[in-house]
Amino acid sequence: MSVLASPQLWASTLAMAVPLALPALGGTFSERTGVVNIAMEGIMLVGAFFAVTFAYYTGSAWLGLLIALVMGAIVAAIFAWAAIRLAADQVVLGMAVNIFAAGLTAFLLDTIFGYTGTPPNTPQLPSVDIPFLDHIPFIGAILSHQSILLYVMLVLVVLSHWFLFHTKLGLRMRAVGENPLAADTVGLNVWRLRYLGVIIGGVLSALGGAYLSIGILHSFDVGMTGGRGYIALAAMIFGKWTPFGAFGASLLFGFANALAIALQGHGVSPNLLQMLPYALTILALCGLVGRSTPPAADGIPYEPRR
């Protein structure tokens, strides 16, 4: 119980939920419009790498972040073009992006920075301390020194929910993911809406990658996302393709991770504890939370009738 009362456990839960929630949110946007997106891992890596590179060369972490988002959008746009215009298999495409991104970032890291890795004086995004919250005993300790991107993520979760479920554009995006033929019939541009969904997904995934590289750290390492893009995929499904669901699932995975760290050294094998988040993933995918129904047209390319 003393473990649960430690503010560090909850601080770590929040910190580790961010790089899951952002790509999970991104995946939600993409799949809501009907494009299966398993490329979050790759786009995160691309975002993480370009964030560090441009933060270092421009001297501004914010500019690095901006470029990371642009690169995320570009990779997602290429993915979207192949998935939507060329009607290629979306799962295969997603894997291609992931493998490509792993190779590209490793190659660029060695070429640009050499084998010693990114320079230690790379700037980092600020962490924030909210003045009045800091003085509340427990909450203050949890929220102190968290990256600014944590708060950005919280705002984005709410915004995404509002956008997808309470705006006209959100309704249209969901419509092309459920029944593109009907949406096309009433005059919606299915392809354009799908492009929008995938590109928003790419930007959010890149933001998740940038959180890892310049949000809580200021360096990049080969494969530093460590499979978080795939856990995010599970969080998206677990969260039933809704922003709040994805956020909640990410919190749970973040908690499992934090708990695995906190429990080490208390007599349980660390190897066993490290399985915790992954065991949870399997449970989640096995339908622990009941039936998880994807958008009806998820993964099916659409040929418009002209």
């Binding site: 398993i38 799962v91 894997m95 493998i99 760290i261 660390p270």
Partner: protein, 350 residues
Amino acid sequence: MKWKVWSTAAAAVLGMSALAAGCGAGTGAGAANNTTAAGGGHPDFKVALVTDTGGLNDHGFNYLSSVGLDRAKKDFGITTAVTESHAQSDYVPNLTRFAQQGYNLVIAVGFLMDSAVKQVAKQYPNTKFLIIDDDIEGQPNVTSALFKTEQCGYLVGALAGLMEQQKGIQGLNDKNVLGVVGGMQIPPVDSYIAGFVQGVKKTDPNATVEIKYAGSFNDQAQGQQVAQQEIADGADIIFQVAGGTGLGVINACKNAGVYAIGVDADQNYVAPQTVITSALKGVDTATYDVIKQALNNQFKSGAQYFDLANNGVGIAPTNSVVPKSIVDQVNQLADQIKSGQIQVSATLSK
């Protein structure tokens, strides 16, 4: 619709396995880049380096081994080649290729290449092999470089213990807790940690040493979280034995205003105020020495131990935070280890 959930889930699992396979995917397509030093030397003496799946940017032994190779190339004018292995199944073909091409010495980095070296060395008895971190005996053309990292772990542990005892060092609390973040629970990591624990026990018997593992060698974010947990538990000096993951540990220490101890190489450059010293593993020295032996026809098969006495392991220069008196005491302990007065065990007692 249910099949879609399952196909996505299957894709996720597929993705994870691809990730596991690809996590060592370093650069290029395994192309060897042959280079010869300009003028003089021994351009006919050819040395090849084959990394394990960690690749050259592992912040660890692969990288250090290539540093030693580069230095040998500069000093002796030999011809060198480097190939990164992307999967365990690459080991045998990579080693075989260089043996076939008539390389004099082929360096295999890491205990993971044990069976590959045994197999290829038998087929090519005229090629000499060096394997790092693994013990191969009874094969006349194979030499093994083994490091007594428990000795340098002991020294940084003793130093950390003395720091805890010292009053008035900025950033240190009075909880007397030390942290260790390991990459994975495997022998090359645990030998460092075993030494560290014994060193702490020597100089600060009442200290608590909190040992946690990040479960990865390239997940900096995870390393940072593990370190933050230890800092929250009161740790004010953290020894990282976690490769790339350790950079996140150092970052967490820097942010929290506590101290870190680096591993393998002198990592003071990462955060000069934070990294008070590093436990050094001289993979570069070992590589250089064996190349020199082979070049001078002094190649000896079997295990070669690199320890404090022959500068195979060591402790990096301390930063300004560490008082001179502590450095002197640690140097005395180093002498006692060299003379055999202190024996350090490589296994971590539970």
